[in-house]
Assembly symmetry: C2
Homo-oligomer: 277 residues x 2
């Protein structure tokens, strides 16, 4: 399938079995400007954060020290918008279906491409994303409550677990919560542990108060997905962490993907399983 074969108005189902390249082309052409959950199944999706080079060492150090929230999939050369490892031929300025532009830590614009914002010293970080974990869990037939509605929004919270700081970057680990049936708990942990580039094993299982979350119904991002009978709340580190930390550091410029509007790579998750690189 190529994007040119597709009807002008794309549905999520049209891109469910597309390649990462197809999704990027659809974003680039303006045919797809929505969230990317459920698209290009099996292809690794990534959070993106673009920072000026003078902040890039500290930001990379922050990611290196906090591999669960910030698994590094690819980092571009300064000024080069191509993610050469994750997606040869890509252009991070136009290949995502939506972007957010921050100044001094404040959101100033939501845009569909960032050509005018890209600088000769821009460095793009592509970091693992829990959309990829959804695929792994679904393949194992572990229910994913948040995908049962069209918006696909997961429950996201700031925990009281602190990241290891690096330079000006410091803050709490942000976590996603998935309700997991008790009888699939061991599977959910051992299966996700194989995929460090999709945040790996959970950071916490069970009582939310143990990680500083008093009320599951009050999410910090996304929406609350209810626990059903016999469900256990399971918390994985979330790629919102580095963005929240970078915004809090109030660096003069930062560009990220818009919420849920991820970079879809050419990599299959199995290529990034333990032991393969």
């Amino acid at each position: 399938m190529t994007v040119t074969d597709l009807p002008r108005a794309l549905l999520r189902e049209d891109l469910a079995n597309a390649s990462g390249r197809d999704v990027r082309a659809a974003a680039r052409s303006g045919q797809w400007r929505r969230a990317t959950h459920g698209l290009a199944r099996g292809y690794v999706q990534a959070n993106m954060a673009i920072v000026p080079k003078r902040y890039a060492f500290d930001f990379m150090l922050f990611c290196q020290r906090n591999p669960k929230p910030c698994p590094i999939i690819d980092i571009t050369d300064p000024g080069d918008p191509e993610a050469r490892f994750a997606a040869p031929g890509s252009d991070v300025r136009v290949d995502l279906p939506g972007y957010r532009v921050f100044r001094d830590g404040e959101l100033v614009a939501e845009v569909f491409e960032i050509t005018d914002h890209w600088r000769s010293d821009s460095v793009a970080f592509l970091l693992g994303c829990s959309n990829s974990m959804d695929d792994v869990l679904l393949d194992a037939r572990i229910p994913q409550r948040h995908l049962e509605s069209e918006d696909g929004r997961i429950s996201v919270y700031a925990s009281n677990i602190m990241c290891a700081a690096a330079g000006i970057f410091r803050g709490p680990v942000v976590v996603t919560m998935r309700p997991i049936p008790q009888n699939r708990l061991v599977d959910a942990i051992s299966i996700t542990a194989r995929y460090p580039m999709a945040h790996g094993a959970p950071v916490h299982v069970g009582d939310p108060r143990a990680i500083g979350i008093d009320d599951l119904s009050r999410v910090d991002w996304g929406k609350y997905n209810e626990l059903r009978h016999d469900d256990v709340p399971v918390f994985w580190a979330c790629g919102v962490t580095p963005q929240a930390v970078a915004a809090k550091a109030r660096i003069p410029e930062m560009i990220t993907h818009a919420a849920g509007h991820m970079f879809v790579s050419d990599l299959k998750l199995t290529q990034l399983a333990h032991g393969t690189r």
Copy 2:
């Protein structure tokens, strides 16, 4: 055991079952100034490279893009000589039993401590080391030919596999070769694959010419360890790679461990196995 309990003239056996902290204390006090193979068994050993901060982003990017030769165990804050993750309380300026100082890519000194060379912008990279892999293979009763002599020197070659470049850092993957009995080949691969921080799975098995090595007896570093009947040559990525690349880039200042004189951390290898961080 503490180092103060030990006799003044230490033997390798005295430190074989010591902790990483004990070995660092022995190096710091001048009681141990030799190679660290066989010491503090089970504790992660690390290659070290210290570069000025202005090169640290590109050097970290190089490591991130080449995880097999350059597995990042810890990186210090600029100017801070403590490896806070790998060994709280450590001091990378005095805790290794030997150092090499380079200027413009040329070796200018071999010293026992580097206090006078440490700068306010120095960044120390601690990168995985095949000494740690030796432990894993020995525990699996896979013979390690190079450890059968006291000098413990392994066979090291520059291959024709090119690293992914980053900034000024580029060059070939340097590899160690271990002769592995044919009937332990699968074990050697699958077991080392579990330990990415000790270089992980091999980069090549079998015919050395396939990776540009014409004559195994002509090593580039270390010494040749002969293949015996039914041995297969197995090649793992080597921590000499980033040093060779940094020397070739002729950066004005670089400090490394002396050959075989590693940083011994407080981490157990099992803490760095897949899925644990």
